[in-house]
């Protein structure tokens, strides 16, 4: 069986959309090439999840127009809760498909830091963006969904940190979704140049109950020599989206990428997070938490691929499944030939809160080099009745005891999130979802 990928959009539609955004010709060409190859490309094949019947291509409209915000005070309450307006100097907010608010401190501007919406970026920083956009990270023609993403891209952000610039305070990006007809083909491109350091947090926030569109999201993180990138997310996309989210990192020599991913979508979701440790002595660390509820189906494939020598990769994933939710957790540590002295470690743990919930943890180590170390641990289980007994024996109610155990189970990842407001939001989302 094949997936229907007939798009309502024609080549002419894409061309005029691109021209309307005054995109340079290289960008228009990427879009058109992607559109042209779309039909022939295969779907991705996330291990253990059959997606042949999933609808990734139908949506009501390509873009919607939404309001801009002139000050942070105008933000909806749900967004205010995750933004510390007094302290957050470096922030970009996208309202559905509309670049809605941007603030970058004078200090960072003076140092050459770029934070801007993706349309402005391809216009004003064309060469820089072209160098990194879907080249070293995610390829346009990787499969049908990456091509679809490139052809229909309708939002996103570009972050560039120049050589030797260390940014202390986190950069925050909020993708606010409050129009149920909106689709999100967002692209985050973050480039950290040599010896730089940055903490970035992006937040997908649906404030409508139900979505009718598509979420096809790509984030590329390019960490150059000796740079350090901490990339945090909290995704809270509404039920009704079919979410494909691909977050990928590439490290040069001595670079470090740390991922802290809070995957709290209510939509069916295919998530791919891959880190290519290309440079010698580079590191990739992934921490991910997931809460599934309702009859959600999700697949989380996390890969760290070791190309360089002395590279260090660690994956830590904790998931909680309730109701009839089901999730597949694929963890892949791959050590290529020549990546001597590398270390690939991973742990996946799934806690199931109901009889009908399903969780699968599949640790995979693929090793083509002898002189390496690797390890994995995986478990799928229920809340331990003896833990509940212990907590209750101190007077704590069963409900509160379960809450403590679940929060405790997710804490190792939640605690890694770099922005207090976002950490608090994640805790609250978890609270709401597991109640």
């Amino acid at each position: 069986m094949t997936v229907e990928t007939k798009l309502a959009l024609t080549e002419q539609d894409i061309r005029s959309f691109s021209e309307g955004k005054q995109e340079p010709s290289w960008m228009t060409e990427i879009r058109l090439k992607a559109l042209g190859e779309l039909e022939a490309l295969p779907m991705p094949t996330p291990d253990k999840t059959k997606i042949t019947n999933w609808n990734f291509t139908e949506f009501p409209v390509h873009t919607v127009d939404s309001s801009k915000f002139t000050t942070l005070a105008e933000l909806p309450e749900e967004v205010k809760a995750v933004v510390n307006a007094d302290e957050q100097k470096n922030i970009y907010i996208q309202h559905n498909n509309t670049p809605a608010f941007l603030s970058l401190s004078e200090e960072l501007k003076a140092k050459g830091v770029i934070l801007t919406d993706i349309y402005t970026a391809v216009r004003d920083h064309s060469e820089l963006v072209q160098q990194y956009f879907m080249t070293d990270g995610v390829k346009v023609t990787e499969h049908k969904l990456t091509a679809l993403h490139a052809a229909l891209l309708n939002g996103g952000v570009f972050v560039y940190v120049p050589k030797n610039v260390v940014i202390e305070e986190p950069i925050q990006v909020i993708y606010l979704h409050d129009d149920k007809t909106a689709s999100l083909f967002n692209h985050t491109l973050l480039v950290a140049d040599d010896n730089s350091s940055v903490t970035y947090v992006e937040n997908y926030l649906s404030t409508v109950e139900h979505a009718e569109g598509q979420a096809n999201i790509v984030a590329e993180v390019i960490a150059k020599d000796n740079s350090k990138v901490t990339f945090g997310t909290v995704d809270v996309l509404a039920n009704g989206f079919t979410t494909y989210v691909n977050r990928r990192g590439v490290t040069s020599r001595d670079a470090v990428i740390e991922w802290a991913l809070g995957m709290m979508n209510d939509s069916d979701t295919i998530s791919e997070n891959t880190t290519h440790l290309v440079g010698d002595n580079s590191e990739g660390h992934v921490k991910m938490v997931v809460v599934g509820r309702g009859n959600q189906k999700q697949n989380f494939t996390t890969k760290v691929i070791h190309w360089g020598k002395h590279t260090e990769g660690q994956i830590l994933k904790h998931g909680v499944m309730k109701d009839e939710a089901s999730s597949i957790f694929n963890g892949i540590g791959k050590i290529e030939y020549g990546a001597t002295k590398s270390n690939a470690e991973q742990t996946s743990r799934v806690l199931m809160l109901s009889e009908k919930a399903r969780g699968d943890a599949n640790p995979i180590l693929l090793i083509d080099e002898d002189d390496v170390t690797a390890g994995h641990a995986a478990s799928v289980g229920r809340v331990d009745p003896l833990q509940l007994y212990y907590l209750m024996s101190r007077g704590i109610s069963q409900h509160e005891a379960e809450r403590l155990v679940i929060h405790g189970f997710l804490a190792p990842v939640v605690n890694e999130l770099p922005i207090e407001g976002v950490k608090k939001q994640l805790t609250e989302v978890i609270e709401r979802k597991v109640r």
Binding site: D384, P385, L386, Q387, Y389, Y390, L391, M392, S393, R394, G395, I396, S397, Q398, E400, A401, L404, V405, H407, G408, F409, L410, A411, P412
Partner: protein, 259 residues
Amino acid sequence: MSTLVIKDLHVAIDGKEILKGVNLTINTNEIHAVMGPNGTGKSTLASAIMGHPKYEVTSGSIELDGEDVLAMEVDERAQAGLFLAMQYPSEITGVTNADFLRSAINSRREEGNEISLMKFIRELDSKMEFLEMDLDMAQRYLNEGFSGGEKKRNEILQLMMLQPKFAILDEIDSGLDIDALKVVSKGINEMRGEGFGSLVITHYQRLLNYITPDHVHVMMQGRVVKSGGPELAQRLEAEGYEWIKEELGIEDETVGQEA
């Protein structure tokens, strides 16, 4: 004064009867020691009083000041004033010792009347110092990676913070070196008084050198077979259990389960 009355208690695990009619009455201001060789049902008694999910009470009763303890959920038993210092405390990742203790204290209080953070920290610090515990342990995850001795101290810390009417101490002395044993005993002795009673389950007389019991009971074959004063513990220390078995005509003192 409060009273805990256990009458003709029969308890089974996986369908096998372990306790075969235990009778005990404990008042506040009393310390009772339950002694006996391995496999005679001592720990089963402790678990059954607290409501361990695996232990099934098949007949008999437990009452606290006339209230039916067996009809209560585990948390209700704790709120009614019972406490069990466990032989094998659970480890709970991600939940700090301090957060856990605060939740436990607040579970006894009305909503809106929670203990203030300052007061809580003051009490916690002073009790940790009393028990010669490293103050960092408040911020460590509950029992995770604690040594055997640290876990036992942590049980006594909870006891002191929660101030129950009755504490059951299930082999609190096992695996403790002499210094830790002294500290743990110091904690229990500090609790002694008008509003507090305790059931100290132990395998060794050694603990009773530090905590002088008012009453001593010996368990064999799932029953209390002999009771007496502190002198009984001393005789057991000197002579072992054989004389009791002879006196009562018991050949195998266990209830047939693996120790």
